[in-house]
Structures are given as C-alpha cells and as structure tokens.
C-alpha cells in the first residue's frame, strides 16, 4: 500500500491547531499526540539514561523529536515517580531504560512524619525537568504546546509506599491513605505552579487510579477529590490552560467517577474511546488510543488502519485528538510514529 500521495499537507501550525480546541473552533484536522516520552532520547541519539539525568539533553531531545515528527504536544517526562523521587524514594537507573523504583521512601506508617514537600531547585531530578521545560519553551514554545508530566496524588503515594500495601490500606487504614494523599496533592500543586511559571502546560498522570487497580467506589474516595484540587488549581491559576489527565490501563469502569475530577482533557489507554465519548464527550476532549505495543511491533500500514478505525469511531471528531494510549515505546520505529501522525492528516479532516 502506497499512501504517501494521499496525505493532505498541513497549512496550519501545531500551536494554532491545538489552540482551536481551546477556543471551541474546528482546526484544519484533528491534532495528534503520540505520547513521545523517553523515545525522544532515540531521536537525539543519546542513551535513555543520559536523557533522564541531564535537563539540557532532555530538553534538546524533545526539540529534536518535535522537529523530526511534528507531534502536536511535547511532553517532558521520565517516570511517573518523579515527585516521589524528589520526596525521598530511591530509583534505580539504567543506560537504556527509564528508571524504576528501587526503594520506596516510606517503610512504615509512622515514616509519614518525615515526609516533606520537595524543593524544586534541588530535590531528585526536579531540576532536570525544570531545565528541560525551559529549553523547550524557549526553543519551540511559539510553535507547539510544551507540557511537563507528573504523577497524580495516588500514583505519587504508590511510589512513596509499596503499592500492594497502599491498596490494602485503602480498605484497612483509609485515614492514613488520606493523610498521605493530602501531602502528595500539595506537592502536585507546587509542581503545577512551577510549570505554569515556566510557560508550560502541567499534565497529570494517574495510572494507579486505573480501573485495573481501583474500583469506581475507591476512585471516588481516594482519587477524584484530590485530582479535582489539581484541576481546580490549573483552572484558577493557569490563565486559560486546560486541566489535562492521563490514565494508563483500563479506564472504562471509572469514566463516571473520573468526571467528578473536573478535567478538560482525558488521555486514555485501554478502552473504547467511542464509549468514553458517550459518557464524557459533552464535557471532556479525548486523546487516544492506538495501542502502544502495536506502535512497537506492527507495520506502518497496520498503524494506519488502527488509527483510521479510531478516527471513524469518533464520529464528528469534535473534541477528539488522535494519540497513543500510553507512552510510545522507546524503540518504536520512527515510520510508525509518522504513520500515526499521517493518519490524523488523512482521516482527521473536518471537511470530509
């Protein structure tokens, strides 16, 4: 299949395209957010382990990825544990992979008294994130939306205290979980302030709130109220910036509960995006949801077909952004990312 000839050229810039969504206007075509995170290191040709620990490299990698692919959103990101890391959780680093949690900071409930809000000028790798954000805003901020991603309250809590114990405590010690979530929420509010101050968009990722892990009842008790405070803070202080939430994994059982968190954009992974539109389309713009493993394993033709099916499912495509369900795998072949963005050009037209 040779589809290159059939790709309509963009005459609208990336930033302008995304701003159309915020203004309630129709862009030339649907925007495309492949969630390029650690993969940016591949575009710049540096080891992932260097990208992760050097703000200049991280920033340059995302500028290079934007120049290479023309993605409509830059996402500064290394792991979902970055806030927890800055609050004392130990990470293990790898040359060619994202860091993983080595030792959660909280060993027992009483350790919570030692927990402090992070200092963004020195704790963990927060300075790396801040520098990378500044570089991207300075170099390409007039062309594309630059965002910086951090773990939501429950995700941060689950990186500070072993997730298997934390999930049990939702039932056995809910008061302690709430106390921890309160601190994580305050850390998140600080993160939002630091990102907004740098002219970027804060994005909250809450995979531990996935329907694979918590029930709608627990989502309403332990996730939605804290997420809502973050969304409210963006609404109050963001000068018109939308509140953006990404949840990996299965989300369908929690759609209704998620509405209570009051976000403007949901980036979704393993679900039927058409179902999400039915439940939340009146309120929320939806990003998704080509399967990440398919980006790694499938051919460009298969990616094209998968993306086309998603575009068709979204009907009038109002408030729809084509994207990957979760992180674009580090070793994704570049032509598959091209295929995804070209699919937005081909099947995401509002005039067809």
């Amino acid at each position: 299949m040779n589809t290159t000839a059939a790709i309509p050229a963009d005459t609208q810039g990336s930033l302008e395209r995304v701003l159309c969504y915020l203004k309630g206007e129709k862009p030339q075509r649907v925007a495309c957010f492949p969630l390029i995170l650690n993969h940016a290191a591949r575009v710049l040709g540096v080891p992932v382990g260097v990208y992760n620990r050097d703000g200049k490299v991280m920033g340059k990698a995302h500028v290079a990825a934007f120049r290479r692919y023309g993605n409509d959103l830059i996402l500064i990101f290394s792991t979902t544990s970055t806030l927890a890391e800055a609050m004392g959780t130990k990470m293990k680093f790898f040359d060619e992979d994202a860091p993983q949690i080595e030792e959660p900071f909280l060993k027992q409930h009483s350790d919570i008294s030692k927990l402090k809000l992070p200092d963004f000028s020195k704790d963990g790798r927060l300075p790396v994130y801040m520098e990378a954000t500044e570089i991207c805003v300075k170099e390409v901020g007039s062309e594309v939306v630059v965002s910086t991603v951090f773990g939501g309250p429950l995700t941060t809590a689950a990186a500070l205290y072993p997730v298997e114990l934390l999930t049990r405590d939702m039932i056995k010690n809910p008061a302690w979980v709430h106390e921890l979530l309160e601190i994580c929420t305050q850390a998140g509010i600080k993160f939002i302030d630091e990102i907004l101050k740098r002219g970027a968009l804060p994005i909250i990722v809450e995979p531990i709130g996935s329907g694979s892990l918590v029930s709608p009842r627990h989502f309403k008790e332990f996730v939605a109220p804290y997420l809502k405070r973050l969304a409210d803070h963006v609404h109050k202080t963001g000068g018109g910036m939308p509140a953006v939430l990404h949840i990996c994994g299965k989300t369908t059982p929690n759609f209704k509960a998620m509405l209570e968190a009051d976000f403007d954009i949901w980036s979704l992974d393993a679900c039927d995006l058409g179902e999400a539109k039915k439940v939340a389309g009146h309120r929320v713009a939806l990003v998704g949801n080509v399967i990440p493993a398919n980006l790694l394993k499938n051919t460009p033709e298969e990616i094209d077909a998968e993306a086309r099916e998603i575009c068709e499912k979204m009907g009038d495509k109002v408030g729809f952004i084509l994207g990957s369900g979760c992180e674009v795998p580090i070793n994704t072949p570049p032509e598959n990312i091209d295929a995804l963005i070209n699919a937005a050009r081909k099947y995401g037209r509002y005039d067809s």
Binding site: E164, T167, S215, A270
Partner: protein, 219 residues
C-alpha cells in the same frame, strides 16, 4: 461445645470473601479445637471463599485492593490449618512456574494470578519479579512444571517472553511445556506472534486458560 462443621466452614468462606481476617482466624482455630478435618476446611471454606472473590473480580465488583485483602485472610487461615493436615491429604498438584520477566519490577498482576492459582489448587513456584529469562526454563525443569506463566507491564521487556520460548525450542523441549503470557501491553496477537500457548487479560482468565491448556496436555 463445638459448632457444626458447616457453620464454621461458612465463617471461613465468608471471612475470606468479605475480607474479615479476624473471623477467618477465629473459625480456623475452632476447626483445630474441634478436630474437624483441616483439608476439608481449607478447600471447602477458605478456597471456596477465595474463588467467590475471584468471581466478583471477574465481574468488576472486586478490584485489586479487595482481592489482596481476601487473599491475606485466606493465607492467615491456611497458616493455622496447615500443621493439622494429614499425610493422606497430600495430592499430586499441577506444578506451575510464574514470574515477571527481566527488566520489569511491576508484579501486582503476577501476584494476583499467583493467588488465584493457589486457590485453584496449583502448586505455584513463584520466581518473583525481574527474573532472568533462563531461570524460567531451569525452574520448570527442576520442579517438573508443565506450565510457565510470564508477565510484564512494559513494552521494553515483552520481547523477553519470546526469548523464553526460543530457549525451550533450542533445548528441544518446547512441546513439554505450555507457556502463557499476560500484562498491560500484551495482546492475543502478540501471543500468536511469539508462539505462546495462550494469553489472558486478567487473573480469572489466566486460571481458566491454565486449566484448559493442562487438560489438553493431559488428553
């Protein structure tokens, strides 16, 4: 005076199913004091309760927190009853090797499958997380397992599953084992591509799949 066997077993079952560990402990001690059959109490009380919890998990009424607490209650009861099992209670069980492949430390999904396999009567050899690929093969040979279960949540490590299958082929023993895979990025298509015997998208599905594969192997 001791309560009826049926009443105590109901407490064991309800205690697991309703996440009431204290009730399980009390009932398990009653079984011991009344000298009721420990094997019967484990199977028709504790494990029956865990299987009920599994049904609710399958229906998305229970989620991970509920299932973990049910399993805590089940294991607390087993701890009390195990010393009272008779020699004749030892039945040959299907042996299974399970673990999260090298490079990945996310193990909640694997742990849930392990819990449900325990409850389903398998003898589970859990290698833990971040497991060197050769260990799956070695362990399966060592314990005489017929089933190998591989888990990963990450796209960076999913190829390790294919490597395990290749290792079995290289040793000429692929047909002696059933290999099933699961985890966030895994799909049936990927399972087909790498020649796995099956894929399940949740813990309950993994148990059904394991049983049917082992029945096939025995046939």
């Amino acid at each position: 005076m001791a309560r009826e066997r049926g009443d105590i077993l109901k407490d064991l079952m309800d205690g697991v199913f309703l996440m009431d560990e204290a009730l399980v402990i009390k009932a398990a001690n009653e079984v011991v004091e009344a000298k009721y059959d420990a094997y019967d109490a484990i199977n028709n009380g504790l494990i029956a309760g865990m299987n009920q919890a599994g049904v609710l998990f399958d229906k998305e009424e229970y989620f991970v927190p509920e299932l973990l607490i049910c399993s805590d209650a089940m294991y607390a009861g087993i701890e009390i009853l195990r010393p009272h099992l008779k020699k004749s209670d030892a039945h040959e069980k299907h042996k299974v090797v399970i673990g999260v492949v090298e490079g990945d430390t996310h193990d909640i999904g694997k742990n849930l499958v392990k819990i449900m396999m325990d409850a389903a009567g398998f003898e589970v050899h859990d290698l833990g997380r971040n497991v060197p690929l050769a260990s799956f093969v070695e362990k399966a040979k060592e314990v005489g397992a017929k089933l190998i279960c591989l888990s990963t949540l990450m796209t960076t490590t999913m190829d390790g599953m294919a490597t395990v299958i290749e290792m079995l082929k290289e040793e000429g023993i692929r047909d002696s084992y059933k290999v099933i895979i699961g985890g966030g990025p895994i799909s049936q298509a990927f399972a087909n591509k790498i020649g796995a015997d099956g894929y399940a998208d949740n813990a309950a599905g993994a148990i059904k799949l394991s049983k049917s594969l082992l029945a096939q192997a025995a046939a």
